[in-house]
């Protein structure tokens, strides 16, 4: 069903995709944007509930307010690193989001009420709707990468701030703010690996046979 070239293409994009925090102001072509949203919408979802919405934030005023919400959260978190041997300073030097620079921020939301009270599978594990939304984000991210677009997942904010800024109803979960645009620097390795914040683990150490802890 898939050729060797098609297999290679998938692995290339999976390995090349990076979380990007610096953007150029260039606008995103309509076709590319359509492709990445369609890719997101073709993610799996529990009970086929498709719990996601996508709020396309291009207003400078709203991006400014989202950046403010992210920045105050960043400053608040830095305080928690104060006893961690230089990690506070290291942390404050990391650029953690590019909401103001990127031409578009997509707020990806999850509606836990979609599909009614008895969504197939969701009753067993309620967070499967959020997990489905994460699958949509991953599809979107891979699609952005092949479209030559950079994407960054901003996860520093109080959800209530984002709800207030984007007028999101209280029962809707603003799962992620995804910044999108072109960049002049698409690194080979994760920023947190290059900056020596964390290392990539050895995959073999993460695998078990039949039971936890068994090799």
């Amino acid at each position: 069903m898939f050729t060797q070239e098609e297999k290679d293409a998938l692995y290339k994009v999976i390995y090349k995709r990076r979380d990007i925090r610096t953007f150029l102001p260039d606008l995103i072509p309509e076709e590319s944007l359509h492709n990445i949203l369609k890719a997101a919408h073709h993610a799996p979802s529990v009970g086929f509930m498709q719990p996601w919405n996508f709020i396309m934030v291009t207003s400078d005023e709203l991006k400014e307010r989202l950046a403010w919400a992210a920045d105050k959260e960043r400053r608040a978190l830095a305080i928690h690193y104060e006893d961690a041997q230089g990690k506070e300073e290291h942390f404050l030097k990391l650029k953690i989001q590019g909401i103001k620079e990127s031409p578009l921020t997509i707020c990806v939301t999850c509606d836990p009420t979609r599909g009614g009270s008895h969504v197939l599978g969701r009753n067993s594990i309620p967070e499967t709707d959020q997990l489905s939304t994460a699958c949509a984000i991953q599809n979107m991210w891979l699609a952005a990468c092949v479209e030559g677009l950079a994407m960054g997942w901003v996860s520093f904010y109080k959800k209530q701030d984002v709800r207030d800024i984007l007028e999101i109803p209280p029962h809707i979960d603003p799962v992620a703010l995804m910044t999108v645009g072109y960049t002049d620097h698409y690194p080979d390795k994760p920023i947190l690996e290059t900056s020596k914040w964390e290392e990539r683990k050895n995959l073999d150490h993460l695998l078990f046979e039949n039971k936890w802890g068994y090799k």
Copy 2:
């Protein structure tokens, strides 16, 4: 950075990937298995915490017990459909998992303690570790698809049952049971769409401009 053929390949696999519940007994080649696990491990993760582990369940006895856990949950859930106009009967006819038939079930877990107390970004939104794990699952699923393998996400179980069966420590979240193998029927459309359980939504209806509800 990506050719048109590579773009087409990504979209092909994103659109073709399906949740499969019927499997052949044929074993999975080592190389394919390695490829799908490596794809999973290259997912994004909050603060680069890589919270996942993969328990490769091939023991017939353990698969039998996992299938029992899923089946009793299915029967328990069916009771909740009893007032829903024929939905109980419809539900009980759906095949919801293929744990016993598939040669391999991968239990994908999430360790919320990995990376210590101050994982970058996780302090703001604690469930980002689970969301990262879902991104790994989506990568794995796309990889399985290009490898010609079928995959199904089993989300019917009590987490404590799965912990007991696979000896998973109490603080580890068994996020998903992913059944893997070959199949003789890889459908074009989602099973829940074909069986008229749910329809695919119109993407345009899921998009908003700048604020929730605005077009």
